[in-house]
C-alpha cells in the first residue's frame, strides 16, 4: 500500500463479505423450497427470499467495486483520496440503505420488478450515495498526478453504471415498456458497463502481478471494452424477443448478442497471455489464481452458457426457465464475484502488512467454491433442460414437471454446501488478516 487513504477499501470489502454470507442463507431457503421444503413460507415466502438473494448480490458486488476503486484510484492517480471522512460516511449510508431495503422486503415494502425491487424512495438515497462515491473518485483523479487508462476505464464503468440506474426509476403503465427500460439497467450493467469495471480491475491486477508493460496491457484493455460495447449494446435485443417489442430485435439481438462472448474470450486470452509473458512473478499466488480464474470462468459462464440460449430459436423454449438460472449463477460468479475476490486477495496483504501469500486454506477456498459453483450450474442446467423438454416441448403441466425435477435441487443444495464451505474458508482467511494499518505503508524512494 502506498497511500494511507487506501485503507478505506478494507471496510467496503468487509461489508461485501457480510452481505455475501447473508445472500447464501437466502439461497439455501430457495433451494429447499424448490425441493418441497418451503418451511419458512409464513415468515419468508419465496418472493422475499428471492428479492433478498439477488439484491444482496448486487449490493455486495457494488460494495466490492467501490472498495476496489478506493484502493486502485489513489495508486493510479498518485494522490490520496480527497476525503476519507466522506468515504466512511458513504460506506455507512450504503450499508444502511441496503439493510433497510432487505428488511423492507420482509414486509411487502418493495417494487416487484425483477432485480430492481428496491422501492423508489430508497432509490433516491442510492443515487445520492453513488454520487458521493463518484465525487470522491473523480475529484481524486482530477487532482492526481496522472490519469491512466486503467483508472479512466474503471471510473467510466462506475459513472455509466450510475447513469444507467436512472431509466429503471421511470414509471410506465405498460408492462412492455416497463420491461424494456428495466433491461437498460440489468442488461447494460452486466453485459456492458460492469465489464468496464471488471476490465479496469483486471488490468490493474495484471500490471501489478505480471509486471508486463502498462502500455501493452492498456492497449488490449481498449480493444476488450470496445468489443464489449459493440456487441453488448445492441445485444440488449436478446431480452426484447418475446416481450412485445417487435420483430427487428429477433435479428439485431440475435446477431449482436451472439458476438458478446468475443469480449469474454478476449478477456480470457489476454489474461492468460499476459501471465505467460510476464517475467516478474509476484509472490501473491492466490491473487494470481483468482485473476486467472475470473477470466476463464467468466468466459464459460457468461460467454459460452450465455451463447447457449441467446439465439431466438433456442430462447423461444428456454426463456424464463431454470436454464436462465443456470447461466445467471456461473456468469455472476465468474465475472463479478471472482473479480471482487481477486482484488481482495491482492489488496489484503498490502493493507495489513501480513504476507499470507499462499496457504492451504486459501487454495482450498478457491477450489471448493469453484467446483461447488460448477456443480450448482450443472444441477440448474439439468433441471432446466428437463423442464424445457417436458413443459415447453411436450406440454406437461408446470407442477407435474416441477415434481419430476425435484431431485436436481437436492444435488443443487449439496453442491451449494460445498460452495459455501469454500466461501467460509475464504472469509476465515479474510478475518485472519486483521485490520489495515499504516505500518503497511511502502514509502517510495
Amino acid at each position: 500500500m502506498k497511500y494511507q487513504s487506501q485503507k478505506v477499501a478494507y471496510w467496503f470489502f468487509a461489508l461485501s463479505m457480510l452481505l455475501l454470507a447473508l445472500q447464501l442463507i437466502y439461497g439455501f431457503i430457495m433451494g429447499f423450497a424448490h425441493m418441497g421444503y418451503d418451511v419458512l413460507h409464513d415468515f419468508i415466502p419465496f418472493n422475499t427470499a428471492r428479492a433478498v438473494h439477488t439484491n444482496l448480490l448486487v449490493v455486495w458486488l457494488l460494495s466490492g467495486f467501490m472498495g476496489a476503486a478506493y484502493y486502485i484510484i489513489p495508486e493510479e492517480a498518485q494522490h490520496e483520496l480527497v476525503s476519507v471522512k466522506l468515504a466512511y460516511i458513504q460506506l455507512i449510508t450504503l450499508a444502511l440503505v441496503g439493510v433497510v431495503a432487505i428488511v423492507g422486503f420482509h414486509f411487502n415494502y418493495w417494487e416487484g420488478r425483477k432485480f430492481l425491487e428496491i422501492p423508489r424512495p430508497l432509490d433516491y438515497l442510492v443515487v445520492v450515495n453513488v454520487l458521493t462515491f463518484l465525487g470522491i473518485i473523480i475529484a481524486t483523479l482530477y487532482k492526481g498526478k496522472q490519469r491512466t487508462t486503467t483508472s479512466l476505464v474503471l471510473t467510466m464503468g462506475l459513472l455509466f453504471a450510475a447513469l444507467l440506474y436512472l431509466p429503471g426509476m421511470i414509471w410506465f403503465d405498460n408492462q412492455t415498456m416497463d420491461s424494456f427500460f428495466r433491461w437498460w439497467v440489468v442488461h447494460l450493467w452486466v453485459e456492458g458497463v460492469w465489464e468496464l469495471i471488471m476490465g479496469g480491475i483486471l488490468a490493474f491486477l495484471l500490471i501489478k502481478i505480471t509486471g508486463v508493460d502498462r502500455e501493452v496491457i492498456e492497449k488490449w484493455l481498449y480493444v476488450i471494452v470496445g468489443l464489449t460495447f459493440i456487441s453488448g449494446i445492441l445485444g440488449t435485443g436478446h431480452h426484447y424477443y418475446y416481450i412485445g417489442a417487435g420483430k427487428v430485435w429477433l435479428i439485431v439481438g440475435g446477431v449482436f448478442s451472439a458476438l458478446e462472448p468475443l469480449a469474454f474470450l478476449a478477456m480470457a486470452l489476454f489474461t492468460v497471455s499476459m501471465y505467460r509473458k510476464g517475467e516478474k512473478k509476484h509472490p501473491n499466488k492466490m491473487a494470481l489464481n483468482w485473476t486467472l480464474g475470473t477470466a476463464i470462468v467468466s468466459f464459460v459462464g457468461a460467454g459460452l452458457l450465455g451463447l447457449a440460449h441467446t439465439l431466438p430459436s433456442v430462447n423461444m423454449y428456454t426463456h424464463g426457465t431454470l436454464v436462465t438460472a443456470m447461466h445467471g449463477h456461473l456468469a455472476f460468479w465468474g465475472a463479478y464475484a471472482m473479480i471482487v475476490f481477486a482484488i481482495i486477495v491482492y489488496a489484503m496483504p498490502n493493507m495489513t502488512g501480513r504476507k499470507f501469500y499462499d496457504s492451504n486454506r486459501g487454495q482450498l477456498a478457491f477450489w471448493l467454491s469453484n467446483i461447488g459453483m460448477v456443480g450448482m450450474t450443472v444441477a440448474f442446467g439439468v433441471a432446466g433442460v428437463a423442464q424445457v423438454y417436458m413443459e415447453r416441448i411436450m406440454g406437461l403441466e408446470f407442477g407435474v414437471v416441477q415434481d419430476e425435477i425435484k431431485v436436481h435441487f437436492l444435488i443443487l443444495v449439496l453442491c451449494a454446501t460445498m460452495f459455501t464451505v469454500g466461501i467460509a474458508l475464504f472469509m476465515y482467511e479474510f478475518i485472519k488478516y486483521g485490520r489495515p494499518t499504516d505500518e503497511a505503508l511502502e514509502i517510495e524512494q
Binding site: T48, E117, M177, K219, F229, I233, T236, V248, M316, G395
Partner: protein
C-alpha cells in the same frame, strides 16, 4: 501492429456508433412497435390497477410473465386462456393457505374488485403480440390436428 491510440479510437468509435443505432431502434420501438403490439389503447384504468397490484406484491418473485420473473411458480402470460377467470379469482381471493403440489402461494385474500383488476391485467398481457411466445407444445399441436 495496432497502436494504443488506434485501440482507443476503436473503443470510442464503436461505442458511439452502437449507441446511436440502439437509440434509433429504441425510438422506433417505443413510437411504433409497442403501441401496436401491446394494443396500448386497451390500457384501461383496471389494467393499470392490476399492474400496480402485480408490482406491489412482487408476484414476479415467484411467477414469470412474458417469460420474466422467477421459476418457482407457473408462467402467467396466457393464464386466463389456460385456467379461466373463476380459477384465478379463487386463488387470489382465498384467505386459506393454498399449496398446489406442495408449492405454497401467499394467501393474499384480495377483494373481489382487486381480483378483477388482476384478471383484466392478465387478459391484456395475454393479447400482447409476443412474436409467438410461448411456443405451441406437442400436446397442443396434436390436439389441434385431431379435431
Amino acid at each position: 501492429m495496432l497502436s494504443k491510440s488506434q485501440a482507443r479510437t476503436f473503443f470510442l468509435g464503436g461505442t458511439v456508433v452502437s449507441f446511436g443505432v440502439f437509440l434509433w431502434l429504441t425510438w422506433t420501438t417505443i413510437a411504433k412497435e409497442v403501441p401496436k403490439n401491446t394494443h396500448s389503447e386497451n390500457l384501461t384504468e383496471e389494467v393499470i390497477r392490476g399492474k400496480v397490484l402485480w408490482e406491489e406484491n412482487n408476484c414476479m418473485g415467484c411467477h414469470t410473465i412474458m417469460g420474466e420473473g422467477a421459476y418457482y411458480a407457473p408462467e402467467l402470460t396466457k393464464v386466463v386462456e389456460r385456467r379461466g377467470e373463476g380459477y384465478i379469482k379463487a386463488a387470489l381471493m382465498t384467505t386459506e393457505p393454498w399449496s398446489p403440489r406442495g408449492r405454497k402461494m401467499v394467501a393474499y385474500g384480495f377483494s373481489n374488485a382487486e381480483a378483477d383488476d388482476l384478471v383484466v391485467f392478465f387478459e391484456w398481457v395475454g393479447k400482447v403480440d409476443l412474436n409467438g411466445f410461448p411456443a405451441k407444445t406437442e400436446y397442443e399441436t396434436k390436439k389441434a390436428s385431431n379435431k
